[in-house]
């Protein structure tokens, strides 16, 4: 019964996402495209960060490679950047596996720092390898649709749905349980015979791939990329973590909610209160980490229990 109801609500949501946008203004659809992109990125990060517990401060590597996958095809062979949708994630995974092989030997903060350093190294390398990447000038590519936003939106929606599907399948598979066991206690997992490094790589593959997919979407949608913007440490790597954190790490709907809030609320704040919006946003992030450390979804039961207790006590007093 409960299960059925959930599916019903989900189906309704899905239908809303499909049916409503054609009736919305282009600006709103644009914001929704960014929302879908951020949902995808948050889900991608969460597979490695939230489920497997390997906090990466360098996921812009995969986002940027995803963007450059299509960009390089366009730059060197003038192939439509839509092939980047395939090439970007593949490139991200190809680079992700050796990164994992090397860095997964490190634990906790050391892994986080190694990813941070790699992010910086790759950004500098892409800026300076002029012949391969066109350097700081970046890559401009042709856009397929101009004012027409809906095709981009539906592609973004499909990508986000794909990321949700992958996450769902992982969560309910043997891999999902292994990932969580690595997060909870790596030594215990190892003692139980789980080859932890191999399973971390298994987590890295969909994580890098999905993040790369979001990058490929960015490449096609924004249509110009620069190393400093797609490999951005703060604007990509760190904001991805904040998005997941706000929604709730390690769950299916946490990153979805976090990505949506991050891109949606942030744009609303920017459009309404202007230059102080980011301060408000940063303060919200601090408060959420302090008081709802598992994010909105993760800490919701606690908050609800707390509210219910309050209600009861005030009820008995009154």
């Amino acid at each position: 019964m409960e299960k059925k109801r959930q599916w019903l609500i989900l189906a309704m949501l899905g239908i809303l996402c499909i049916v409503v946008p054609p009736f919305m203004g282009t600006y709103a659809v644009h914001v929704l495209i960014l929302v879908m992109m951020w949902i995808t990125m948050a889900l991608g990060w969460d597979i490695l960060g939230g489920k497997t517990g390997q906090i990466s401060f360098g996921h812009a590597i995969f986002f940027g490679l995803g963007a450059y996958g299509g960009g390089l095809l366009f730059l060197h062979w003038n192939i439509t950047p839509w092939w980047g949708m395939a090439a970007g994630p593949v490139l991200a995974i190809i680079v992700g596996i050796p990164i994992g092989l090397v860095c997964f030997r490190l634990r906790g903060p050391y892994f986080a720092l190694a990813m941070l350093a790699l992010n910086e190294i790759i950004a500098i390398v892409f800026t300076n390898l002029d012949t391969l990447t066109n350097g700081a000038t970046g890559i401009d590519c042709a856009r397929t649709w101009g004012a027409e936003k809906l095709p981009y939106y539906y592609i973004a929606l499909v990508i986000a749905a794909f990321a949700i599907f992958v996450t769902y399948r992982i969560q309910n598979s043997k891999y999902g349980y292994y990932f969580v066991s690595i997060r909870e206690d790596q030594d215990a997992a190892e003692a139980l015979g789980i080859p932890t490094t191999r399973y971390k790589i298994y987590a890295m593959i969909p994580s890098a791939g999905i993040t790369g997919l979001a990058g490929a979407l960015y490449m096609n949608y924004i249509s110009s990329i620069y190393p400093e913007t797609v490999f951005a440490l703060e604007a990509i790597s760190i904001f991805m973590i904040l998005a997941v954190l706000i929604g709730g790490a390690g769950s299916l709907w946490g990153p979805v909610l976090g990505g949506a809030i991050f891109a949606g609320l942030d744009e609303i704040l920017r459009a309404t209160i202007g230059p102080i919006s980011f301060l408000v946003f940063a303060v919200i992030a601090v408060l959420i980490i302090m008081f709802m450390p598992d994010g909105i979804i993760g800490s919701w039961p606690k908050v609800r229990a707390y509210l219910r207790r309050r209600k009861l006590t005030t009820g008995s007093e009154g």
Binding site: P109, Y110, I238
Partner: protein, 291 residues
Amino acid sequence: MALFGQTFITGVLMGGIYAIIAIGMTLVMGVMKIINLAHGALMMVGMYICLVLFEHAGLHPYVALIPTMIALFIIGYLLQKYSIGRVSGVETIIPESQVLLTLALGLAITEVIRVIFTSNYQIIHPALTGEYWHLAGMTIEIPYLIGFVIATIFVALLHFFLARTDLGQSVIATSQDKDAAVYMGINAERITNFTFGLGTALAAAGGVILMPLFYLYPHVWHPYLMKAFVITILGGMGSTVGALSGGLILGLAESFGSTYWGPQWGEVIGFIIFLLILLFLPGGLKRIIGR
């Protein structure tokens, strides 16, 4: 030869300044076992306090050093006590919630400063700025030299403090084994707050030293935070001597990299050293030099 000498001197002096910024981080990481991503932002706050003291009270940065450090000690202590410390020990889904909190705090602090001071570049010209010594075809910028001396003094004082005082020994005990320290009657929570304050004050000292040499704006801290990480890992967490030698190694690597490989690659060398140390010498130089 002058080129080599100049590159060497530049590297050593810069390394000393890196070291003092990193030493605050290495202390905090040693005791709390977390990476503190607000470290850079707090250094920047120190620089703004120094700026205000210079512009409104006319204090030379080297004089303003002490009040700035005291102010930042208090800020760091309170921040740890009422914000970061609260999250410690809370069971969360992902293990690093303190780290992520420092990250969000760093962003929030930067924005607060930006709202107060705008993103304009702030530039001060205290005495000695732009003064040089020339010897044998090489040049030494005097504020760099003074900065290096101050940094070395602080490293020495800190080393002495940790080795010879009860409070310092408590810090070391807490960093070596928190539970054991608690059994020995150390108030680990207070020691942690104290260490965070001390680390912050040292970061501020690093920032103040930069004031006569550099400029200031809210995002000034990004590269220094990176360098602090590199040095902390290079030197080993909690090691003062490690931080000093790590700073010197990084300063020299960047300097020689810029001269002989190309200025755009200078930073990459630092990061590569960092990765190599992480992978092949976990524990850093501390493992070699012993403390």
